[in-house]
Symmetry: C2
């Protein structure tokens, strides 16, 4: 399995609506069950860069406990604004990181969301 | 668009691995852009029931800000244990709620995850 996702495809699209305040990236990854370690190492390298960018707030990287999940790994990350998110993903360093051949094995599906309903302490 | 998802398909599958501690449900929904209000009302009715079940901790319901998102609405919910999550979804009342014909318009893709990496305050 290999794909040819561009850095742009690895980044959520431009929002059409103006969103004030924080945004949530939900990025789902297809990962074969025996490739968890390789995925986690590659994701961590890219994530360490993004965590240092202005406007990064938090993340939770999730792994599925049921093996039939379409997307076995899902990153849910918060940024202060959509502009911060985009700026962190438009750098040469991000481009270098996500164009590594090793990423071809792990198709991703990133989208940006806003929180509509929140209950309890997240 | 209509589908025939059963209550079982509306609920994440049984985990194969024993997971101690909290689990995260990530449930993604396909919703036409002009059906947001209908979806939100229906989801809220079901959610109000689940929030009252033992072991429910928190949730964030997200709506996509980019219209090309595959899944325009995503619920990320935390339960104290996987057993609590399943118990809340095996009741007659949950079955009644999710077999309402109105749900047929909104295919969902629920899976249970554990948090592998957490950075910052979620």
């Amino acid at each position: 399995m290999n794909d040819t996702m561009t850095p742009e495809e690895r980044t959520a699209g431009e929002p059409t609506a103006k969103v004030d305040g924080p945004i949530t990236l939900i990025n789902s990854f297809k990962v074969a069950a025996d490739r968890d370690d390789a995925f986690h190492a590659l994701w961590t390298e890219t994530s360490m860069y993004l965590r240092q960018q202005p406007g990064f707030v938090s993340l939770r990287l999730h792994r599925a406990v049921n093996p039939d999940a379409t997307y076995r790994w899902v990153n849910v990350a918060t940024w202060e604004t959509g502009a911060d998110y985009r700026a962190g993903h438009l750098t040469d360093e991000f481009r270098r990181l996500v164009t590594q051949e090793a990423w071809g094995e792990f198709p991703s599906n990133p989208s940006i969301y806003e929180v509509v309903t929140a209950v309890g302490k997240g």
